[in-house]
């Protein structure tokens, strides 16, 4: 039968080995050669857009790359789906945006802020998501009825 000492060795050994592999894989994945996000395209506008994305907790309702709230549409390919003008109108609206009845917070953004958000979405929209992009969006666009 397994002894307590062996059980502890299994715990410590397994932890150390998988932890080291995890760190190794992280370093490998985040290396430049593996980049799928076109990080060279992260301009200042994109960074400002990301800050707005965070400071307003957009992720509390919407998903982006599949992460966030399940209350409002996935925004990974939103530029491709709606175009800049539509997005800016939603963000700059003084009244809650609610084309289909469900309300969004009225952010009343300035034109410059809305441009930054669009820059952020454009960068997101070009990331290679290992196939997820084909499930969440371009196809949805074909069928979308408004």
């Amino acid at each position: 039968m397994l002894s307590k000492k062996q059980a502890r060795a299994f715990f410590l050994g397994g932890t150390v080995v998988t932890f080291l592999i995890f760190i190794g894989l992280t370093v490998y994945s985040l290396g430049e050669a593996q980049d799928q996000s076109h990080s060279e395209n992260i301009t200042e506008a994109v960074v400002r857009g990301k800050k707005l994305w965070e400071s307003n907790n957009c992720m509390g309702c919407h998903t982006i790359m599949g992460e966030g709230g399940y209350y409002a549409p996935e925004l990974t390919k939103v530029v491709e789906r709606r175009g800049d003008a539509y997005i800016k109108a939603a963000l700059m609206s003084e009244q809650p945006w609610q084309p289909r009845g469900r309300k969004m917070v009225a952010y009343n953004m300035s034109e410059a802020e809305a441009d930054d958000m669009v820059a952020f979405f454009k960068w997101i929209g070009e990331i290679d998501l290992n196939g997820f992009e084909t499930v969440v969006s371009p196809l949805a666009k074909d069928k979308s009825n408004n």
Binding site: L2, K4, A7, F10, F11, G14, T15, T18, F19, F22, L25, S29, L30, Q34, Q36, S37, S39, I42, K50, W53, E54, S55, N56, N57, C58, M59, G60, C61, I64, M65, G66, E67, G69, Y70, Y71, A72, P73, E74, P96, P99, R100, G101, R102, K103, V105, F120, I124, I127, L129, N130, G131, F132, V135, V136, L139, A140, D142, K143, S144, N145
Partner: protein, 449 residues
């Protein structure tokens, strides 16, 4: 209860119950919003409700874990807590930081990063608070007469949980990196170090409740936490499939996360077997019910329902849908909420001297809340699967699908009401115990050992 300082646990548990009640109100607000009734939108928009709901969950669970540690560590180490006064300071500061964060969320003061919405300045206060907590626990442990495996595993879980908070505080310009390291906190908490905390509490309770030999229980504890880390660390990859990092995670995350249910299966088998083996049964039936229940429901919610969407081929379609919410509810409930309820049910009679060991209200609280939660899981599950088919397979528009899903949220609200009845009974039972007293020390000596 064998040491006077263990009484401080009571107040952490009471804080837990208070925050849990608030969490449920915000859950209902979201349930109604999904069902098409968003009358509170102007004051509590959905993103506020969601941040409050999930953050209160995390804070009440942490408060429960801290209470558990203040109760368990002195007893295991056979040493009074080094400073009760500082433990109260820690309690009050935890409550204040928690409340400040929650209030801030109503005024657009947050960091929109799912589960880690607490803004940076408050993050630092959290760090200070947790450092104080860890110092009190670790010093007590090391001054103590014995360092049991149960106490070590639990403290290790708490310490790693504290350390893992830090990667969530790094700033990135890239959303991809932000997300990558956010999972070091969120995933490695719930599918890693929190399982050590859960395992530690479970093993403490099984030793007390079943009378099985400590050596046997602690040996299996090592096996369980061994399985946890072996699968859970590399299992982090199941969050990296579709967020803009390379394809290696499809393989690594797929294989290792598929093994994660083993740790939960082991936990369930362990609890049931120790119960069967035990000869010296403790009269506290309510605590036993929650203990065994937690081990079983966590296997269903985390193990089975986690497995249901963890392979990359399935996750491609379910990622970021209500299917995820289905799993999130039953997993958090079974693994962490129920284990906190178990330790509370065990500790309360010992701290207060009131022997509510096997009351009708206690049993009803268990069954009604569990049936309610399983009903909620089914409602989320049906809505989620319908969403996946309509939106992701049939390519229907997001909002068109959401309209069709409203009916499932009515079912959710009904089930949630049942759940809330169960929780209310539990909280009534909690307060019926009255407050902790030193006299309880003497009463216990007669019952235990």
């Amino acid at each position: 209860m064998k040491y006077k300082s263990q009484k401080v646990a009571y107040w952490f548990f009471a804080l837990s119950m208070l925050l849990l009640s608030l969490q449920l109100i915000y859950g209902l607000i979201m349930g109604f919003a999904h069902a098409g009734m968003d009358g509170l939108h102007e004051w509590i928009p959905f993103n506020t409700a969601k941040a409050v709901h999930t953050n209160l969950l995390v804070v009440w669970l942490l408060s429960g874990f801290m209470g558990a540690a203040y109760y368990i560590i002195p007893e295991e180490a056979q040493h009074e807590l080094v400073s009760v006064k500082l433990a109260y300071v820690q309690l009050i500061s935890l409550a204040l930081v928690g409340v400040a964060a929650i209030v801030g969320y109503h005024f657009n003061y947050w960091e929109g990063r799912k589960f880690l919405e607490i803004p940076r300045p408050l993050d630092y206060l959290v760090v200070v608070n947790v450092l104080l907590f860890m110092a009190l626990i670790l010093i007590t442990l090391f001054k103590g007469k014995r360092k049991t495996t149960t106490a070590l595993v639990m403290s290790m879980g708490l310490l790693f949980a504290a350390l893992l908070y830090l990667p969530g505080m790094i700033d990135f310009d890239s959303q991809v990196l932000d997300s990558f390291f956010r999972w070091w906190v969120v995933h490695l908490w719930v599918e890693g170090v929190w399982e050590l905390i859960m395992g530690g509490i479970l093993s403490f309770l099984l030793i007390k409740l079943t009378g099985v030999d400590r050596e046997v229980i602690e040996k299996w504890l090592y096996v369980i936490v061994g399985l946890t880390f072996l699968s859970g660390i590399l299992g982090t990859g199941h969050h990296y499939y579709y967020i803009g990092v390379n394809k290696i995670w499809l393989i690594v995350g797929g294989i290792f996360s598929a093994l994660e249910p083993l740790a939960f299966l082991a936990m369930a088998l362990f609890a049931v077997n120790m119960y069967r083996k035990g000869e010296k049964k403790h009269p506290n039936k309510t605590a036993l019910l929650w203990t065994i229940g937690s081990a079983i429901v966590s296997f269903i919610g985390a193990g089975l329902l986690g497995f249901a969407h963890t392979l990359p081929q399935t996750n491609l379609y379910t990622h970021g849908t209500i299917v995820t919410a289905m799993h999130g509810h039953l997993a958090f409930w079974g693994a962490y909420a129920m284990i906190v309820f178990a330790i509370i049910s065990y500790a309360l009679p010992n701290m207060t001297g009131r022997k509510f060991y096997d009351t009708a209200r206690g049993r009803m609280a268990f069954w009604i809340s569990n049936i309610g939660m399983i009903g909620m899981t089914v409602a989320f599950g049906v809505a989620g699967v319908a969403q996946v088919y309509m939106e992701r397979k049939m390519k229907m528009d997001f909002m068109t699908v959401q309209k069709d899903l409203e009916i499932h949220f009515y079912v959710l609200i009904i089930m949630a009401t049942l759940f809330i009845v169960g929780i209310t009974l539990y909280i009534i039972e909690f307060f019926k115990h009255g407050q902790p007293t030193d006299e309880a020390l003497e009463v216990n000596e007669l019952v235990e050992d």
